[in-house]
């Protein structure tokens, strides 16, 4: 008998069947991976399991006993813990207080802080955490917060743990550590549900896989019994592979219009330094070229991009834009001078979710639509529609709040916004994070299209296959310094990874 059994779970939202009779069995001591594109129904399934949403029909059984989960508290009490990507921690409280939140140890009617600290400390130590249990969560890194969530499950004697995209913001080392802990929890007899977009992680961790597509279960079976191509085909219902869009030096030497050559260096970065984030970073961006910036999370890629975009100041070094000194005072200044930055988190940095898609698209260049002091809505709408149409969004989305779009479409709005800004240099940070495979391919093509128009593009991505597929040249940052540069032809995943990993240490 499986430890956890979900049978024929159906959930409808007005107009959509988010889940259509989905069944899933999780055995004790096993890791069961749940994969699917965005909107396939994974998150809804987890929410139902967590007691945060109620299924319209279907049964959840734990060790053969039917569970009626109406609140998250029910689920936790029955031993079901769901760890969301964005976490459910109170940042201002200590790790110990978070771990015992809702089940605080008491003594004589008062909080027993010492017991909480002690037991939380024990659980954290068991998970290999090296921080004081009373540290406020706000001071912890993403990986450490994850350990807090896991410790919370441990002290609650969880029997089933579901992890939603746990590695999205982790470095390889942190991921490896997390996997060790998850395996140990499985060895202790817990059932684990693992949701991930990263197939290599699914292979590394899980013994069974369930694939969801459009709210239906399309495949379940042993991990060993399916190859990547089949898996992806099931996920998307079609064959998708990153199209290799990189260009060799031969292609790039072709002459461009108006006498410009591709070797024109638009942006030159010399010895750029902002301690302790990055130090002595030098490189150049040329017209018509996509340069990939690879490295582990925390290697200083985003921090450097933010400096170039005028978000943060740098300490030392110089930057030349079209051969002239460039030191932006603000993002607005950088944009005005032709350097645009597409930030890594579209929901908190890329979009104003409450205003319309049109208003988001025109925000950086609103100045253009001012006629005699007032906004010219018709001109604004025309421009927004043109660029949204170009990235493949229907005109019907123009007036909708940005929040109502899927992740992939939101990212296309961000892209349209920066296309409209018409910058000479575009720095894109994790352009396809949390975006489904089909939208990824579209976004890749648009970035290549920009380069073809003579723009210089710098791509930061933690997904190695993505950087490799896109970049004409690759720069690898390691602990804040440039550790290697490659031409597209010479870059292999192994070589890039070797350059990105901290020196001397194995992966």
């Amino acid at each position: 008998m499986p430890l956890l059994s979900l049978r024929d779970i159906t959930k409808r939202y007005p107009g959509v069947a988010a889940l259509d009779a989905v069944s899933l069995d999780v055995e004790a001591g096993m890791v069961h991976a749940l994969v699917g594109e965005n909107g396939a129904g994974k998150s809804t399934l987890l929410k139902i399991l967590a007691g945060a949403e109620r299924a319209d029909s279907g049964v959840i059984e734990l060790s053969g006993e039917t569970l009626h989960l109406t609140t998250p508290r029910d689920a936790l009490r029955r031993g079901v813990t769901v760890i969301y990507q964005e976490f459910a921690l109170v940042p201002s409280l200590g790790a110990d207080a978070n771990i015992f939140l809702g089940m605080e140890p008491m003594r004589a009617g008062l909080l027993d802080g010492a017991a909480a600290r002690r037991d939380a400390g024990r659980a954290l130590t068991e998970l290999g955490a090296a921080f004081d249990p009373s540290t406020p969560v706000t001071l912890l890194s993403t990986a450490e917060r994850q350990l807090v969530e896991l410790a919370r499950a441990l002290v609650r004697d969880a029997r089933v743990i579901a992890l939603d995209e746990p590695t999205a913001a982790l470095s390889s080392r942190e991921t490896a550590h997390l996997f060790v802990q998850v395996r140990r929890m499985a060895e202790r007899g817990l059932g684990v549900i693992f949701v991930s977009h990263r197939l290599e992680e699914v292979r590394a961790l899980s013994s069974r896989i369930t694939i969801l597509r459009d709210g239906r279960r399309v495949w379940t079976g042993g991990t060993a019994g399916i190859d990547d191509a089949t898996l992806i085909r099931h996920m998307v219902g079609r064959d998708v592979e990153y199209e290799r869009l990189s260009r060799g030096p031969d292609d790039r030497s072709k002459p461009e219009a108006a006498g410009d050559t591709i070797s024109d260096e638009v942006l030159q970065v010399r010895g750029l330094t902002r301690r302790p984030r990055f130090e002595d970073v030098s490189f150049a961006l040329r017209r018509g070229e996509i340069v990939g910036l690879a490295g582990l999370v925390g290697a200083g890629r985003t921090e450097m991009a933010r400096c170039l975009a005028g978000v943060d100041p740098w300490e030392d070094g110089e930057v030349l834009l079209h051969g002239r000194p460039f030191r932006p005072l603000s993002p607005g200044d950088a944009i005005a001078r032709g350097v645009a930055y597409l930030p890594e988190d579209r929901k908190t940095q890329g979009l104003v979710l409450g205003i319309s898609v049109r208003e988001n698209t025109t925000l950086p260049v609103l100045r253009r639509f001012v006629r005699r002091g007032a906004l010219d809505f018709a001109a604004e709408r025309r421009a927004a529609a043109e660029y949204l149409g170009y990235v493949g969004l229907a005109a019907a989305t123009l007036e909708r709040p940005a929040a109502t779009l899927s992740g992939g479409n939101q990212q296309k709005v961000v892209l349209a916004k920066w296309l409209l800004a018409n910058a000479d240099v575009l720095i894109v940070d994790e352009p396809t994070r949390g975006v489904d495979v089909g939208a990824k391919v579209d976004i890749h093509r648009h970035l290549r299209g920009l380069a073809d128009k003579g723009k210089a593009v710098l791509v930061i991505s933690s997904e190695l296959p993505e950087v490799l597929a896109l970049s004409d040249r690759l720069i690898v940052l390691r602990e804040g310094r440039v550790s290697a540069t490659f031409d597209a032809a010479d870059a292999t995943p192994e070589r890039v990874l070797a350059a990105a990993l901290p020196g001397g240490r194995a992966a």
Binding site: A309, P331, L351, G407, G438
Partner: protein, 362 residues
């Protein structure tokens, strides 16, 4: 690719709330205002008389002007607690200007009145800009900054007046007639009426000022680049900054606008009462916040409208007036006002819950 929301539950709910908010501002509050007006018209004799209706407008005008400025601030997810004290400070400074014998001797009653308006407006905008600088550049929480300004402005108003109102001169005081004349000029602005055919008693001038201010506010919020920035900053400050929006300038400006509105309200009040008191404007900030919130401005920022705020202020005005006419004790009126604010918020929560799914599944 589908358009199912893939956002976290919090985000979706927040946006649904905003969508519902704006819908509430569009329909809910005007309907409530209409219902209350009809109810009052049917049950209270004399409520619908032109004299009474213009009285309501007169009484609403000062709060509506303050609430309009407050709307700018709240849309950026800020708050301005200092407007009531700014009304007092600007009122006494304008009154001192207006009744200064030397000034009256130099520029006459009309000139002194113009200067008084300028002083009220300028001091208000200046104090507001100080609020804005602290919020924008020193990054102090708006609640704290404006709480401090609220106390400082009130204290300053008491200090410069010795705690007593400035205004109507004693007969026999130097330049008595010029002072009265100057106060009369300003009374034309704050308490005067312009005659309209078919409207006995005329239309109150401050209500005209209010309509002009609200119309200007609506234009700025919806039709200008600055207005768009106000909504963007309130909706997502970080995304706005990364999009090149000059966030600190926008914040500075909204507090300056709120302060200027308070200065204007002070001048209206001074004209109406012919006196500027250091204790004037107490709790005005709360009435202004109430009008904005009832009118659909979310304290979370990102939503709100000038016309919605006007309707919110009118609703409070009609309520006060109806209870007055019914002879309800003032204490009960306060309780009723609190109840209305609570009802507005509850209604909003209800609308949000019922429309949350629809708002995100369109």
């Amino acid at each position: 690719m589908g358009d199912r929301p893939s956002d976290g539950p919090g985000q979706t709910a927040k946006v649904a709330r905003r969508t519902a908010r704006s819908r509430l501002a569009l329909f809910g509050v005007p309907i409530a205002l209409a219902a209350m007006t009809i109810l009052a018209a049917v049950t209270i004799p004399g409520f619908l008389s032109p004299a009474n209706l213009t009285t309501i407008l007169l009484h609403v005008s000062i709060n509506a002007v303050l609430a309009l400025g407050m709307t700018f601030v709240i849309v950026t997810a800020g708050i301005d607690l200092s407007v009531g004290s700014i009304v007092a400070l600007c009122g006494v400074l304008a009154a001192k200007t207006l009744t200064s014998a030397t000034l009256l001797g130099a520029v006459g009653p009309l000139g002194a009145a113009a200067l008084a308006v300028a002083v009220g407006f300028g001091v208000g905008a200046g104090v507001g800009a100080l609020n804005g600088s602290a919020v924008a550049y020193l990054r102090v929480a708006p609640f704290i900054v404006t709480l401090a300004t609220m106390t400082i402005a009130r204290g300053t108003a008491r200090l410069v007046t010795g705690g007593v109102p400035v205004g109507y001169p004693d007969p026999g005081a130097p330049a008595y007639e010029a002072k009265v004349a100057a106060l009369d000029v300003l009374h034309g602005l704050g308490g005067g009426r312009i005659t309209l055919p078919g409207l006995p008693g005329g239309f109150p001038v401050p209500a005209l000022v209010m309509l002009a201010v609200v119309a200007a506010g609506a234009f700025v919020l919806t039709r200008t680049r600055f207005g768009r920035y106000v909504y963007a900053v309130g909706g997502n400050e970080e995304a706005s900054r990364l999009s090149g929006v000059p966030v600190p300038h926008v914040k500075l400006a909204v507090y300056a606008i709120s302060g200027a509105c308070a200065g204007l309200a002070a001048v209206l009040l001074l004209g109406q009462l012919r006196s500027g008191g250091p204790d004037a404007g107490t709790f005005y900030e709360l009435n202004a916040i109430a009008a904005a919130v009832i009118g659909g401005t979310s304290l979370l920022g990102g939503t709100g409208s000038a016309w919605g705020t006007l309707v919110g202020a009118l609703l409070l005005g009609v309520l006060n007036n109806a209870l007055d006419l019914l002879g309800v004790q003032a204490f009960w009126q306060e309780i009723a006002k609190g109840g209305i604010i609570l009802l507005a918020v509850l209604f909003d929560v209800w609308v949000t819950r019922t429309s949350a799914a629809a708002a995100t599944k369109r």
